[in-house]
Symmetry: C2
Subunit: 388 residues, 2 copies
């Protein structure tokens, strides 16, 4: 028995996506900038992909820029807009629980003289809209609030956040890496100026991302060179990758609703199953305002890494936080923002479900966890006698 529940860290490419990509590796391999039939074919392929991504997020084709990953989209969006419009003000407001790339781009901007202000979240991990309203002022050039957090699953009030930003003429960016394809996002109607998208999070290939850029908005390019992607992203286009992201977006449009319901069912079965059986286990994040595929559960007196290694031996793959920051072995800044203590944040597991998970997998995981937790607790000097 196996159960991969780390779709937040990495997703398999959908076989239909891979099929769509295949012709562009060996046969139709042209450079979209080439002035001949092979080039035109490649250009046509990336334009179709652009329309497909467009359709997922309620944009126009001219508003989508392909990049190499969500991290690059965040770099282009946040640094690109902040520097381009720096005359509007020096303040940049982001939430405490943004992806590490957004946090670290903020640090770089603060070295360049910008003032980075962190908007707090409540204990369920939802950005406090009132406090955000107090932090955004007329000196604010950009506000960046993620659409949903990939680690604790909380869905953020981004429509309200965009309104707050716009009431002060600030630009609004949302990192929709974890949310896109899971919950409906309509860039135009929801008031986004910039939105980050990741291909792999849609079951597309790794090495591709996109940035929605509202018509009329300008950016300082991040990747400098031959002026591809309307001058915003230089470098020869990754044609098979872009084709794959387009196909993945296209599939997601049709599957999102039914798959969201299915995953919500599995998620709740998993949460109830674990919390009912394991003493001193708690759900991190919000009970209902969370992504259909995300469960984040805290176990007292256990180290997350030890849990992960033990569960891996049972064929269960999970994460103890974002894979993006796993290498640091620091406790998650997201869990710390909820007010959790260092040791509490360390004892958490992130379950991110996906297309190949079934009820059987969930039951297997629910059966496996209590034993693993008990064994690890028995080894810890901190565990109270009644839990041994």
């Amino acid at each position: 028995m196996k159960a991969y529940m780390d779709y937040g860290a990495s997703r398999p490419v959908d076989p239909a996506v891979l099929d769509a990509m295949m012709p562009y590796f060996c046969d139709s391999h042209g450079n979209p900038s080439s002035f001949h039939s092979h080039g035109f074919e490649a250009l046509k392929a990336i334009n179709i992909a652009r329309e497909q991504v467009t359709a997922l997020v309620g944009a126009e084709a001219s508003e989508i820029v392909f990049t190499s990953c969500a991290t690059e989209s965040n770099n282009l969006a946040i640094a690109g807009a902040t520097i381009r419009y720096r005359k509007r003000g020096k303040r940049v407001v982001i939430s405490e629980i943004e992806h590490i790339s957004v946090i670290n781009i903020g640090k770089e901007l603060s070295r360049q003289g910008f003032e980075i202000v962190m908007a707090p979240v409540d204990e369920t991990g939802i950005v406090d809209v009132d406090k955000l309203g107090e932090l955004v002022n007329d000196e604010t050039v950009l506000v960046s609030i993620m659409a949903a957090n990939g680690e604790i699953g909380t869905i953020q009030p981004i429509k309200e956040a965009a309104e707050i930003a716009h009431s002060h003429e600030a630009i609004f960016h949302t990192d929709a890496t974890a949310a896109a394809g899971q919950i409906p996002l309509e860039a135009a109607t929801m008031g986004f100026d910039l939105m980050t998208l990741s291909s792999n999070d849609l079951y597309g290939p790794k090495g591709v991302g996109a940035l929605y850029l509202r018509k009329g908005l300008r950016l300082k390019p991040h990747m400098i060179g031959g002026g591809q992607e309307g001058g915003l992203r230089s470098g020869s286009e990754n044609v098979p990758g872009i084709v794959g992201m387009g196909k993945a977006a296209d599939l997601m449009i049709r599957r999102m609703e039914a798959e969201g319901e299915r995953l919500t069912g599995l998620r709740d079965r998993l949460i109830r199953g674990v919390l009912d059986v394991v003493p001193e286990s708690y759900l991190n994040g919000h009970p209902t305002k969370r992504l259909p595929n995300n469960a984040n559960i805290r176990f007292s007196y256990v180290e997350g890494e030890a849990l992960i290694i033990s569960l891996d031996q049972l064929g269960i793959q999970l994460s103890s936080g974002s894979a993006c920051v796993a290498k640091t072995l620091e406790p998650s800044h997201v869990l710390r923002a909820l007010g959790l203590k260092h040791e509490e944040a360390h004892g958490s597991l992130v379950f991110t479900l996906g297309k190949d998970n079934r009820g059987d997998d969930v039951d297997y995981v629910v059966r496996g966890i209590p034993d693993v937790v008990s064994k690890l607790r028995a080894m810890s000097p901190l565990t109270p006698p009644e839990l041994r």
Copy 2:
């Protein structure tokens, strides 16, 4: 009959490379940062690829950073080193015929207060080492000279250029996008501090590149985020792409010598065939110090774009310059640097040969070109009577 001779703009992925990539799309799809078996498998795969790229360029594995393309490698290398070591001086020396990404990164650095100095080339397109020696001084922080030019094929005196840079304690970068896999490059013995590599130019997938970074050298990262690639290139790794680049490098090591001889033969057959038959046609670049796969031929009284469209209808794909700047429709800055006039630069064709070309293709192209050139010349008011 078909003849694709635009390998400089885009190469098909080698089928063996695609085979090597395939397991990493759907099955072994882990995130190398994940702390479980799927993650370890992905990490192992990219480390093998790192060793393979290492072997192609005489480096150590710790000296290779994977990026999303050669343009990104150039951004990371040139901006990253120049800004990191800015205290060493404000001067950056590049050649006049660098890739557009290097030229444009230079422009951006000049806006940031650096002094960008262009080293000239002679009329064959070889960097003038004496003049380079005069331009590099103790105020120079970085020298960037490409290993070979992809458009005119000239192989540059980079060992000498590196020595000049080092004699002033400047950092030496070479863009080896067009050269790697065609001519031997040994980073350690040839004195490179930084070297840009492209996957697709090795018959690897698009959307991947690498940067050789000499041990001990530090860079300001270009892509900010979760700290992947030793902190130098954030963003979840493109595992299938990296595996593909590794495999492509591995194949290239074994094939380079024989394939170089084969392509040199085809190249010379092509050059002689065209020059012998078409009046007022000339070879751009150096007659012998050129890449095995490159021929660049100038036809008086003809527009390159018109030639390309006409030849495309015969199934022959070529370029009139670098695809990277084709969109601008400006005459090539490379040909202008050779001293060619605007109209001369416009009437040039770039032939870049590759693995699927055979003697038949060359003969087909040699047979096709005279007729096309004659027809276009007949339509031009500038053509002298004797050529009509």
